[in-house]
Point group: C2
Chain length 222, copies 2
DNA sequence: CGCCTTTCGTTGTAAATACAACAGACTTTC
DNA sequence: GAAAGTCTGTTGTATTTACAACGAAAGGCG
């Protein structure tokens, strides 16, 4: 566990909690550490989640395959981020969470995080507040994704996603954390159709790209 | 404010908080009450939200119009539900919140809810926990909606939404809280195309409907 | 290097959707 | 109860997308 103190310190869950206090809370919160190999399932649809989990190493994909095998990528999870916190109210989880690479997950007993000893652990209340903020951000991510997907055409979806990425990185040139198939799954469109549309957008002078590196052109908004 | 005590008592925010304690907290949390007429904006895109709001009367729609005027309905808000809680982390709100009918909103100062006097107000910690659960549920709603929208065809989107409604109400006959245009906006499809698809589904024996009352047929899953 | 696997672009066709326009049913209002 | 307005269903056309299939390029590995 000590290995990951730095990461935990930088995670949303322990924002504004000093290291000594954090360490004293780790035991109190029932923390557990577990490794996952690439491709392994962290959660499966139908599981009940009774923990608050932080990714300490690696990368995760939150996805969902429907009855006919169409895969939808809900979101990706990076180091230091919380996940699975959308199901604390007791509902069964609706998506699979899969390790995109070898990963380490640190999880905390949800009941202890939420209900035990806010006085005994001096900064416990802060952790609960952090949880509120983390959930709030998760909400924002989902709404943002909805904003992309609700666009009517593939080109609009791509523009919506790519222009947000440019805004987030503060540069018109950036790389995305998806390959073509994953991007298509994320935007909920067909890969080959999306690939073709990307090329048309390039030919129309909207952008340039190479693999997962993109550059948006001034001409913009078509 | 007293008018709405019953509703507040039944709201997610004050679950497991006895009425006397709740009343003593109302002032402490900086509660405000405000009326909105049908069509009036409760929040506009770009607003900063520094409050936790509960709908006491009426009904709200969370929606977003894009640059070209296409409207997307994110969700509807019923009496007793929290809204706007996805933006506590400080980001600007991305959607408009509009009163679908004459409505009353009670809001609480977010900073006080999150940071003040967890000891002075005996059940303050419970309210913060409730907020976590409410956010968790909001997350779930969004993920559920994503599940509908990510379906590739209009028929699949309709089946996804309607079968969930049947499951939620526990009956194969139920009414939905949307008219056709709103349902189309919610599922992010064209209204007339959706209307036509609904009729084809009826002709295929999948369901029956009249206005916003639907009945799913045994034959199911096409 | 050569083989194998994965990823990406390309194309043609069938299917699905958006859009526009209109008619009928139902509501509201005066 | 007539008029105006709203909601829903219907149809035809142009556009967009999904699907399948394939070849080329890139990366991994013995």
């Amino acid at each position: 566990m000590e290995k990951y103190l730095e990461i935990l310190k930088g995670s949303k869950l322990f924002a504004n909690v000093a290291e000594p206090e954090m360490i004293s809370m780790l035991a109190c919160l029932g923390s557990r550490e577990r490794q996952y190999n690439e491709g392994e399932f962290v959660f499966r649809r139908g599981d009940r989640v009774d923990s608050v989990s932080v990714l300490a190493e690696g990368g995760l994909i939150v996805q969902s395959d429907d009855y006919w095998g169409n895969r939808s990528i809900i979101t990706s999870v990076g180091v230091g981020e919380l996940f699975g916190v959308g199901y604390l109210a007791g509902e069964a989880i609706m998506n699979d969470v899969v390790a995109a690479e070898d990963s380490t997950v640190i999880s905390f007993d949800a009941k202890r995080v939420l209900t035990v000893c806010p006085s005994a652990c001096p900064r416990h209340a802060q952790v609960v507040r952090n949880l509120v903020f983390a959930l709030s951000e998760a909400n924002l991510r989902l709404v943002t994704k909805l904003g992309h997907i609700q666009k009517r055409t593939t080109r609009e979806k791509l523009m919506s996603y790519l222009s947000l990425m440019a805004k987030k990185t503060g540069s018109s040139t950036f790389t995305i954390p998806f390959n073509r198939q994953q991007l298509a799954d994320f935007l909920s469109v067909d890969r080959s159709a999306m690939s073709a549309e990307l090329c048309r957008m390039r030919d129309d002078g909207l952008l340039r790209f190479n693999r997962n590196s993109f550059t948006l052109m001034e001409s913009g908004r078509a």
